[in-house]
């Protein structure tokens, strides 16, 4: 009896420890400051991107981010694909043709420049990492293709960074030249100057360009860029979960019936 009691107590102890373990695993991860949590339209079981926000986000990327950050994995054609900003193909052609890219060699063995086509990747602002460092005081603006997946906290983290610049620097932090204070950056020091503020861009659809709005739009865009098939994944995910759930219930009933042969109900 004694042994049995202690066994049960032990089991609850194990369960309690497991709960502790799983709730604390996130604390063990680096970030120690609460991020600005947003209600993203792409969250949840039926998550979808807001098309107009993605289109505005592309504008922010093009006019602000792209002057320093590359986005090597994304092509212009992706902008018209389903599940993304869904620009029309004509619009994408026009957007691409604003850029000049180097192609070749041609028949004479010469490299030449031409207007970008939808099949081209986004053009990087610098020819290589060294050029990029040289132009940015030694700091390398990271490629933004998958940045929404490459940071703990993901989209919320990116949003927080964009909103986390503060003029008042705490006394215990000494800023060197070309370094800025950011509330949410690990270590609170960032080499990127505050990239967006109210009115950084002018939206053609009449949306008011507040800092929050711009940050939200560009983070939407970056999340899509990192996970262009997110909508397809969630759609297929829902279908497969429902399918498996029904199948599991049916198989459960079949199994129960089969086992009645060896375990008849008394």
């Amino acid at each position: 009896m004694n042994i049995k009691d202690s066994f049960f107590r032990l089991r609850y102890f194990v369960v309690a420890c497991l709960i502790f373990f799983f709730t604390n695993i996130s604390i063990a991860k680096e970030t120690n400051i609460e991020l600005l949590k947003q209600n993203w339209s792409f969250d949840g079981f039926f998550g979808k991107f807001d098309r107009t926000s993605l289109q505005r986000g592309y504008q922010v990327y093009k006019e602000v981010c792209a002057s320093c950050h590359s986005m090597k994995q994304v092509s212009f054609r992706n902008l018209s694909e389903p599940g993304g900003p869904e620009f029309s193909e004509a619009e994408v052609k026009a957007l691409a043709s604003q850029y000049e890219v180097t192609d070749g060699p041609n028949g004479e063995g010469e490299m030449f420049t031409r207007k970008a086509k939808p099949s081209d990747k986004f053009k990087s602002p610098y020819p290589n990492e060294n050029a990029s460092r040289a132009a940015n005081g030694g700091a390398y603006p990271p490629d933004m293709s998958v940045i929404a997946k490459a940071r703990p906290g993901g989209s919320d983290y990116l949003y927080s960074i964009l909103m986390g610049y503060e003029d008042k620097v705490p006394d215990n932090i000494k800023l060197e030249d070309g370094v800025y204070y950011n509330k949410y950056m690990p270590g609170n020091k960032i080499r990127m100057a505050k990239p967006i503020s109210e009115g950084s861009v002018t939206y053609s659809d009449g949306t008011k360009a507040t800092q929050e709005q711009i940050a939200k739009d560009v983070v939407n865009f970056l999340t899509w860029a990192a996970e262009p098939h997110l909508e397809a994944r969630k759609k297929l995910g829902f279908k497969s979960v429902v399918y498996l759930l029904i199948l599991t219930i049916l198989v459960y009933l079949v199994k129960k019936k089969i086992w009645l042969r060896v375990e008849p109900k008394v």
């Binding site: 049995k4 066994f7 994995q73 990271p142 490629d143 998958v146 997946k149 995910g237 086992w259």
Partner: protein, 435 residues
Amino acid sequence: MNDQTSKTSKEHFEPVHTNKVGGSPFTGVTGWIDNRLPIIRMFRHEYLDFQVPKSLSYFWSFGGILTICLLLLIVTGISLGMHYKPDANQAFDSVEKIMRDVNFGWLIRYAHMNLASFFFIAVYLHIFRGLYYGSYKEPRELMWLLGIIIFFLMMATAFLGYTLPWGQMSYWGATVITNLFSAVPVVGDFIVTWLWGDYAVGDAALNRFYVLHWLIAFLIVGVVVFHVIALHIVGSNNPSGIEPKDTRDTVSFSPFTTSKDLLAMLVFLLIFVAVMMYAPNYLGHPDNYIPANPLVTPAHIVPEWYFLPFYAILRSIPDKLMGVVAMVSSIAVLGLLPWLDFSKVRSSVFRPIWKQCVFLFVLDFFVLMYIGGAPAEGIYLVIGRIGTAFWFAFFFILAPLVSIIEKPLPMPASIHEFEDWKKQGKIKTIRLFNK
């Protein structure tokens, strides 16, 4: 006539059969095939008529689940291999190409990634089942040993697979783990250079990691075949730990075990699909979406979650060589368990003290997992050392000691009596996985 008799009288010849054609219970085309290649007979014998203990709980479904996982890993892995490029300059981009441009590439890659994690979840439950119900005991010792070999191979191939996307964790994980070999006395540095094929982890290393990732995956298939053959010789253990004696104790594999395993597989698949589709990167590390950079070391180099307990053991020993030895032997020691635990009773259901030891061992596993993910300093290091000490004490002290001092509970004479006792509430088993 006379000649022949005179010949045979001089020497005696045994009749020989150079072929074994015939004997099939089937007729027609199946019979024709089965007479020449008896796989149909074997399949019926081993998977339809095969008798298994009636008292198996859902804990016995993980073998089947693992087989399915392995097959799915191979199918998704082959598909990925058709698009992946094992080149330090192209690996990261080729994975992104799979995620973006290959039809359903995102699905195949997320499936492969998450299946690796779920394979370990299932294998840990499978090993726990073996520990709790004494499946390692005579006559199943060899199966248990084969299982440990599979576990080692799994860890190797999982580690190699994690290096392939060539992200920051891939690169630095590979650097840390391959550097462990430098702890070998005298020839350590030579071995490391030989493993890398270079003086640092780079293109040459990535290329061979890719080849070895494939090779070991198929080695696992081979050892799994032996594991399953051995299972069909010694038979399944069961929650009572008592061997079946007559037909009251058993059911035929099909349709009873098959329907039950199918249900378990579907539940497992359901959880897997939900995680893969809604939180595909939850079990991974965000740093692996940053391309490998030999010049920037991540703040914390953390292995995949399933390595954390063993990583904690590695770090809890101050000496590098002894740390490696401790880590490897923390798994290898499982192989000694059939001889360290010499209690005649298999199932923990009848072993009140051992049962608690096993639960403490599980607790220790999770504590070490937590410690493996935490920084190796202060209180974490102390807890890690206590956890490591308990890990080995479980095998070398508790197992033999409990075998001697423990008085097993009264046991039923057979499996069907065990089932009756269960219905009468005389026996407590793990409720979660009972039918």
